[in-house]
Symmetry: D2
Subunit: 243 residues, 4 copies
């Protein structure tokens, strides 16, 4: 993995391959065993600094085929559910696997994420992503319709990233341990309303609906100001506890 100033690439080091940048290419075998901080040159002599990629850089480098959840929302979901090392978490649907991978990264080394995806093509591509991230040992991925329920019991948390989460609120309730938290992530307002109805009906308590708005600032101190254009909406995070 390496970076240049203002121009950063995250690569998996496959010694058989060549990697092309806008400033020439590098043979990835030259990166094998390279020390973080060392410098590598492209075929046209441009110099890049080699570094280890952070977890977020790795996530961001994955091929996406569904809408993915943003770090601000992922972080809040982690913190507010208390999902951490050792937790057992249910999830549906898998999609690109960003959420699954993040949960898996944080339940290491003793926890497990059970993730359900009804579409075979998504399920298979997500498996590749988990392998690429080295997180497969912490994930049980299933190509199965969540509407039939979770196979697991006594889960610490369940996270639903589905178009119609209200259909499985009681399945989630059944799979959770007492005190466990259900998280529902949806982009539209009508989905929030239907989810709230379903969560109440299923018996969830301490309901919460929040949204997080993030603004990125220009980092030149003399010009400090929020960026003019940005992402002003990702989705709503709904939570309920089984009590």
């Amino acid at each position: 993995m390496y970076y240049s100033e203002g121009e950063t690439y995250t690569v998996r080091v496959d010694p058989e391959k060549v990697f092309h940048t806008t400033r020439g290419y590098v043979n990835l075998r030259d990166l094998v065993g390279a020390e973080p901080g060392s410098v590598i040159e492209t075929n046209v002599g441009e110099r890049f600094i080699v570094s280890r990629a952070s977890f977020i850089d790795k996530l961001a480098s994955l091929r996406r085929f569904t809408q993915v959840i943003y770090p601000k929302d992922l972080g809040y979901i982690l913190l507010s559910t208390g999902v951490g090392p050792g937790s057992r978490v249910g999830e549906a649907g898998t999609g690109t696997g960003f959420l699954t991978a993040t949960l898996a990264y944080y339940v290491r080394p003793d926890g497990k994420v059970y993730t359900y995806e009804v579409r075979r093509d998504f399920y298979e591509k997500a498996l590749e992503n988990f392998k690429a991230l080295g997180l497969l040992p912490f994930i049980v991925a299933k190509n199965k319709d969540i509407k039939e329920g979770f196979d697991e019991q006594e889960l610490d948390a369940v996270v639903l990233d589905l178009p119609d989460p209200w259909l499985v609120a009681d399945k989630a309730y059944a799979a959770l341990a007492h005190g466990g938290t259900l998280v529902v992530f949806v982009p539209t307002v009508p989905q929030v309303e239907r989810s709230l109805h379903a969560l109440r009906r299923a018996g969830f308590r301490r309901l919460e609906v929040i949204e997080l708005m993030m603004r990125r600032y220009k980092t030149e101190p003399a010009e400090l100001r929020p960026e003019t254009i940005g992402v002003q909406h990702t989705g709503y995070i709904i939570q309920g506890q089984k009590l």
Copy 2:
């Protein structure tokens, strides 16, 4: 630990003690060994449901003596630095210990948080908080002025929650591993400006400044709307990478 609908208490189960609520008191020895989901009665016959507290509930129940960082900001800091199981993290200042405890919770079981606090009284109260949360094994707390630098090397991340973080930007740089991330959390705009100057000077790259705004909604579907009054500012999160 137990909850009532709309009224929730987080308690440490000390069998010697009595706990008073607005609906009578309970003898905490009755909670010893209570199953989650069981019901306990106060002396006036009000019924509470017993449940395990989540990590955030436990954090929220700690006595605070300094301004604390909010879950939304804690979650983003975790995700964006990739601090997780096994990470080694430096932190200053300890303060109430919310940030330390959160980092410690997530670096379990093999990671470590090295936290510095110059004030003896804060240091001692924070130690009590870490004990109460059972997180002491993952924390090395020091009653020391961070302006003298970190004793550690090759840290994965450093988080500064200080009034004058710009004074220690180069100490943080020295303590970080290559590819490691510095996070600075400050409430005011002039602090952002001074921090950005210091981070650049110290050699940090890929600078980022963000703020997160969170709105909580009423959860009655027929009245769905953001709460009228709320926290509209906590602080700015500044990051830089050692590359």
Copy 3:
């Protein structure tokens, strides 16, 4: 009308009355003919600067008996409808009369605001407010149920500040001139959904839904930062045009 530093009072100069502040009282007859910028003393010798009140200060000094619309929303409604000097505007319901008064202030001297209020007590108190502000000549206030429709035709704009605006969308359509704009202000999300349905059904085009979030900053430059706590939601502004 006068002000002190950090402590400001807006008063109607009634020469018969005495006005009490936290720093003593003044005889209002002393304010008759006082030059802006002159100084007046209370009975205990505290000095206040006399000044003319701005329109917003006058509005803010009115007695409120219903939820009122905020300046940020009022300003956007004005600008986006183009309501200005000479405009003819319909409004329901009158409520405290903040919105009516603002519209009246801006349609002067040749325009008119036709406002409908079904509750007699609100209607009467609003009339007093209009008199106090000197805006009665520009307002036709009616104690009438808007569900029976507007008596006017060819209005430039109609503004609805009602709990159930969807019931009168077609009445508003009938009262508007071609090209005229309907504005609906509602606090909750379900109201937005029902209003959008009704506006479409009534024939409105170029629909728009927006919300404005305002943050107030501390004004000490060395401590520049948004206030921690603030109003984070007032309502949604929905618009449609008759085309």
Copy 4:
């Protein structure tokens, strides 16, 4: 002026000209005397509805050569200063003239806007814009450096949309009537800090700094949600009163 559904054009009716759309062209002489609501056909038979343009549509159709202020900010400035019919307002710099035109529109028919612009090319293009909008009678435009001060006295409000407003804070103070309000609009944080210093030094009181964030929602009720991408920052509005 006319509109189509989803596709709207704002045109000045010049009977000599032809206007091209993505759906063919129309001869503008056909629009002379056309009733609002009537239909006009392009040369290829596409039908457009004719309507009067709103003030905002007219503003938006002007050629812009500088950064312009948004309706949300314009509206707040109007309301919070109380600038309305009959007000006398000073302004610098003119730029494209959006702010000048808006102020002029609202001070009609008896008020006046005195606007200063140091660049000859901006001044001349702005004059054309004022003519196109029919607002020239309410504007006194000057091609003059505001650092030499305002020629006017006893103004109700002064609005500064300059890169370095702090240089003329005392000129603004001198030109204002007692009780009058200075408004400063700036995009960056360091400009806010310098302006606050200058306003205090110049003697302004009741200082206020705010920012307005606007989110536009999708208007399909079944998909109600804020637009994903949007303008998340325009500028900061600083105010002070001469007391």
